[in-house]
């Protein structure tokens, strides 16, 4: 199984290297959909040169990266292209192994439930087989590495790729069952952008359920929580010592956000990320990895300063939910919406900024449509998941009391 993965990696690196050498790289790195003020490479370079001049990079309003990033690139600035290609490759490898393990767990669980006779009798066609699950990890790696969004994000050297890597490693270590490592990676990811904090809940749920932590002691939960908190504190502390400034863990709401919330009125949307965690935790407590997927998507949709790199991360998980395909209802329309919007971004941006014939409302409208498309897509997946679970326990061919085909109503 390693050979196809290597092949995918080689193809992905070739595409990226070719794009880095082409004249497109500069154009892409200026695109507003690909980089945000928080993740733009230009600002990293600016921060580095400020640091070299002996000025604190945070003294102005330009640099928003974390101190660790700036120290990382202090040594690696000459190999930046290589670093970004490697981070992408690492993300894909982490996701590959994470999903491989996850599939084993899923299959074991399914076998257990089958033996316990928990499933309805006529759901044979819903049961997943090792055959169909065999290529899922590879598809996940493929979806991440060859997704145009990831490629654009990598070519633009958006630091969002690094955050994606941290989250991917967090998922990998969680699935492998290492509470300490997963806390480290979650703390690192949170330290960079705050929102991954919400992934703490699904991560904890998963660790508890796979019995890597003794579920009987409430202290274990507490320990885990404390561990992450103390690690986060540690990182913040390190940064404080190193640059005499608190971390970049701030939300500069001064600049307009690009993909969502171009409009000042949508400021309230930013905190939306945290609203969904508790309801999702209640509804999906049995399925922490699906919960994680939904939560990552929610972050990508509602975070301030989102870029296509964030979208690429949750899109990589689509192959994992291949079996939900038959329950997805609007996939065609929603795919079209997302493709159309992706193409209209540059067109409307051109009309607004260069041609001057359209105004910001055109662009704002299309960002909003893009997000509505994403929200509908995610809720479609969510509903499909719930429906499949329902069918598994209640039988696929349900009839109402009068013998006609029954209709499921989501309440």
């Amino acid at each position: 199984m390693a050979a196809p993965l290597v092949l995918v990696l080689v193809v992905a690196v070739t595409v990226r290297a070719a794009l880095f050498r082409s004249s497109l790289a500069e154009f892409i790195s200026e695109r507003v959909e690909v980089v945000s003020p928080l993740s733009s490479w230009k600002r990293v370079v600016e921060g580095l040169s400020l640091l070299d001049l002996g000025v604190s990079p945070y003294s102005g309003a330009v640099f928003h990266e974390t101190p660790l990033i700036i120290y990382l690139f202090h040594f690696l600035i000459d190999y930046a292209e290589l670093v970004f290609m490697i981070t992408d490759a690492l993300t894909a490898i982490a996701l590959y192994f994470a999903i491989q393990d996850f599939n084993k767990v899923v299959f074991k669980k399914q076998k257990l439930l089958l033996e316990l006779d928990q499933y309805a009798p006529d759901v044979a066609e819903l049961i997943r087989t090792p055959m169909e699950m065999r290529y899922i990890p590879l598809k996940v790696a493929l979806f991440y590495l060859l997704n145009p969004y990831t490629i654009l994000s990598c070519v633009a050297k958006s630091t969002c790729a690094i955050n994606n890597t941290l989250i991917a490693f967090f998922i990998l270590t969680t699935i492998k069952g290492s509470a300490f490592l997963s806390a480290i990676f979650l703390a690192l990811a949170t330290y960079q952008s705050l929102y991954p904090l919400t992934l703490f809940v699904p991560g904890l749920l998963y660790l508890l359920q796979t019995r890597h932590i003794n579920p009987n002691s409430a202290a274990a939960v507490h320990t885990c929580e404390n561990e992450e908190q103390s690690l986060l504190d540690l990182f913040l502390g390190v940064c404080h010592d190193v640059c005499g400034k608190p971390s970049g863990n701030h939300l500069p709401l001064l600049l307009p956000s690009q993909l969502l919330g171009f409009h000042p009125r949508s400021l309230w949307l930013y905190i939306n990320v945290f609203f969904y965690t508790i309801p999702l935790a209640i509804k999906l407590k049995e399925h922490p990895i699906f919960f994680m997927f939904i939560q990552i998507a929610v972050i990508a949709i509602f975070k301030s300063y989102p870029t296509v790199g964030d979208v690429a991360l949750y899109m990589a998980f689509f192959p994992v939910w291949n079996h939900l395909y038959r329950f997805l209802r609007n996939i065609f329309v929603l795919t079209c919406i997302i493709i159309v919007c992706s193409l209209l971004f540059p067109v409307l941006w051109h009309l607004w900024i260069y041609a001057g014939s359209a105004n910001s409302n055109f662009f704002y409208a299309i960002t909003l449509t893009f997000n509505v498309g994403q929200i509908l897509l995610i809720s479609d997946y969510f509903y499909a998941f719930l429906r499949r679970e329902y069918y598994l326990t209640h039988g696929l061919y349900l009839t109402a009391k009068d013998g006609t085909e029954a209709m499921l109503v989501l309440k």
Partner: protein, 626 residues
Amino acid sequence: MGLLSDPVRRRALARLVLRLNAPLCVLSYVAGIAWFLALVFPPLTQRTYMSENAMGSTMVEEQFAGGDRARAFARDFAAHRKKSGALPVAWLERTMRSVGLEVYTQSFSRKLPFPDETHERYMVSGTNVYGILRAPRAASTESLVLTVPCGSDSTNSQAVGLLLALAAHFRGQIYWAKDIVFLVTEHDLLGTEAWLEAYHDVNVTGMQSSPLQGRAGAIQAAVALELSSDVVTSLDVAVEGLNGQLPNLDLLNLFQTFCQKGGLLCTLQGKLQPEDWTSLDGPLQGLQTLLLMVLRQASGRPHGSHGLFLRYRVEALTLRGINSFRQYKYDLVAVGKALEGMFRKLNHLLERLHQSFFLYLLPGLSRFVSIGLYMPAVGFLLLVLGLKALELWMQLHEAGMGLEEPGGAPGPSVPLPPSQGVGLASLVAPLLISQAMGLALYVLPVLGQHVATQHFPVAEAEAVVLTLLAIYAAGLALPHNTHRPLSYRVVSTQAPDRGWMALKLVALIYLALQLGCIALTNFSLGFLLATTMVPTAALAKPHGPRTLYAALLVLTSPAATLLGSLFLWRELQEAPLSLAEGWQLFLAALAQGVLEHHTYGALLFPLLSLGLYPCWLLFWNVLFWK
């Protein structure tokens, strides 16, 4: 989305789309065309009005009286030009300095990708001369431009004369708050492009030029003047710029105001505007003007040197003096007064022109249609593609489900997406081949011109055009020969129709995307292509009267659309073409299209060759699917 989440209503909607697909498509197409035709009738077309406050309420009194002076300048200029055979740079410099301007020159040179036979030029080098009138009331932060493009022939002398006379008159006034640049460019648009690039310190087209010595702040507006006779019967105004960009409507309103004030006859697309919009005649005449505008805008060419200013976000238009057989003629004083009035009002501007419309269509000089009203026309046309795509998707989806249910019992019932189930492999080959054809069409003609001239007895320009046509025609033969071995495997295992249906689905979405994006940036081009390509794209399938479909498809291919547009264009101008003339014009238009892409960055050629032609080949592929 309540409609989509309720299964009952959803099923009803799906049934509606499936059962009534053909009538709905026809209805939507007819609605699109009808909407477009209805644009010229009064509720949809509105009267233009001045939005910019700074130009609307104030009155100016024109005092220009230098008609004799303008004619004398023009005579001198023509004589010097005849003597030297090129732009008389030294004379121009001397004269501009004598009327009190700050004079600078700029030399430029450009090797065209291949010889331009229409303008007879290949290695171009020339000099632009410009004089700046410094405003006594401001600090050179904003400016206006009056430009006269001079070509290789001896036209436009009167325009230079009028420019110089206006400069002399403007110099004596004290009210200027913006610098005024008087620009005379050589080799018409090439010179303008060189000057604009140097002024904004960019190089987007590979022009070599000397840097500018003098600048005058951000250009707020520009007027280009073309005038070749001492008297005019009317002034024609051109608004369409590079890639279909249009100036702010207020600039046109301004021109029209002064034409009315001075009693000048002015035309749009060479047509007088109808007086009476209430009866049927007025709108019909308006439709003719509107169609001419659509054709011109769709071509994406800069129609006059103002077209290049628009790219730099400078509102600009071209005024052309027409001298026809009408009885009543105006002298240069009348034209000069109109220009003086326009410049004085522009001088009042406090901000860039931004109040009025940027996206509009003009059925007459004082009537316009705004974007909100014309967009539904193209929306209806694109809806046809959407409906067809939805129908295909549902058919594919149902077929997928149908296959699955009888064979539900065996274990590996892989619920793959149907389009994936068809095998993306069978789609990849046609997609790649047609895209490669498009790339060849874009790159090869210019790249391979020298090879072609060595092996065939043709000139470079001819070689380019003939290679274009050859590759275009070769595309028809190539793809449907190569996909056969690939598709056999798939067809044998799946329902035979799924291959072409999936390909058509992809092609429909691809076409809709492209047309949508084009219509947003250049409505006319998008609408024109949608009108021709949409019906055959919706019809294309490998069953039924294939020869008829093939003929229709060829007739609506992008190149055939171009040929048809040329005939329609001349028909509307009341100068119909014969077939042979039409063909010659078509060849010239192809060469011009390629040249304009390389010299000014016009986007029509890459759009057609890299986007629409490959997409059209996909439909050709669907038609000959085996």
